[in-house]
Amino acid sequence: MIFDAHVHPFPNFFSPVKMTAPGSELDAPEKLEALMAAEGIDGCLLLARDGDTLEHFLGRIPGAYGLFWTAPRPSPGSRYSSFVEETAHWLEHPKIVGIKLHPLVDAFDPSSRMLDGLYALSVERHVPILFHTGHEFGSLAWPIEVAARRHPRARFVLGHMGLSTLEYVDGAIEVASRNPNLFLETSGMPFTWKIKQAVEELGESRVMYGSDAPFFTPQLELEKVRLAGLNERQLARVLAANAIDLFLNGTPPPSA
């Protein structure tokens, strides 16, 4: 079984530079369904700022679940009084099972007290938060660790597990090794052998597969995990079970 914990259902959102292969944008449910069928993906987490569109995707695809992408800033004209209230609203949706934060593109420090309300909400609703990691400064493991220690009942996933900088990957593993409420997700992190190291140091239950599609190619991201040298049980946990346990409380997606 394959559960992809990191998929973006919309086209480019923050850069004029081309970031996806022509035609690979997942801007319609049919395209995502086609990708899942082609790659044998049983379930996935969709990360999106637009709750309405996210809801549309989730209604169409049985194996898709959502992470609501928020940021600590006022939303002029919004029908919600704060980003926390808006997030609380979308977490009422039965298939929105977590929160996404991107300290790099949304320009904030994850250790800031202004996020404490959101972290408290994640504990109250028992939903994990997936962070973008791998870029200076807010998207590094260490400032996220500060928040994780202040909120030990919150569960944080370090998306990309440090991405492509070896020192940041080591930092993600190091920080997770001393904080049991931190988990690692593999998308975009290019080093096969670091996946194995992470599983060996953290145990088989705290590393999960993600592709970051359409920015990265799921076929290559899956191949990367399969080349990591994991045993069969570890591979099964990384490719699906760990994300299902964390985000879906152990209940596999209906298509699986």
């Binding site: 022509p22 052998w193 060996e200 990265f216």
Partner: protein, 243 residues
Amino acid sequence: MIFDAHVYPISVPGGLQLATPDGIRQLMADEHIDRVLLVAKDADLLLRHIEEIDGAYAMLWTDPRSPGVVDQARSVLEHPKFRGLKLDPALDAFDPDDATVHPLLTLAAEHGVPVSVHCGHPPPSLYALPWMIERAVVRFPQVRFVLAHMGYCVFEYHEGAMVVAERRANVYLEIGGMPHNWRIKEAVGRVGPDRVLHGSAAPWHHPRLALRKARMSDLAPTDLAAVLGESAAAIYLRGDSAG
């Protein structure tokens, strides 16, 4: 023919073990690689490897601030299997167009060998950005510069590497560690298949994944053959296999 133009003769914990000639030979056999270009600062180590391994060539990694490096580079380039110089402005922390680099680039021009320059984050360094390397490219038009990793893992730097290659005919793009299969086709479309070459940056990156990435790039068969081997052979070997 597969020519991996970016391999380090080292091992990584729990990963590929390439610190010995046997390890590299095993990798070449497992992945059906015909030729490799080995990169290291230790010239003696490189010499041992290229003399023991059929199909192995060497590129000396030069830190321009290292005492005696120009003389060392001049000496090793006399060997027929030393085929270029490597610069890493990020790890060794220098401006690629700094005056300390110019003697090495002059030497490369005299010997007609390419210079491979680490291009892109990581590690974080403005010196490894394609636009910074371009200044040296302009100053030494007779030197062939290979932008290793073609920007690595940052979309903006991929674009920058391709832009620089489009406007400078002496720039080549090497795809090692750059994670996106579709970018390869884009690069070939923008600068031509003879200026895009395969490299894996093994053992940091797994060569099987690197080859899979290239084969998934939707290139025409002739273009794929160029990227997987012919381009690197033309750039580094100039039609001479040197045994």
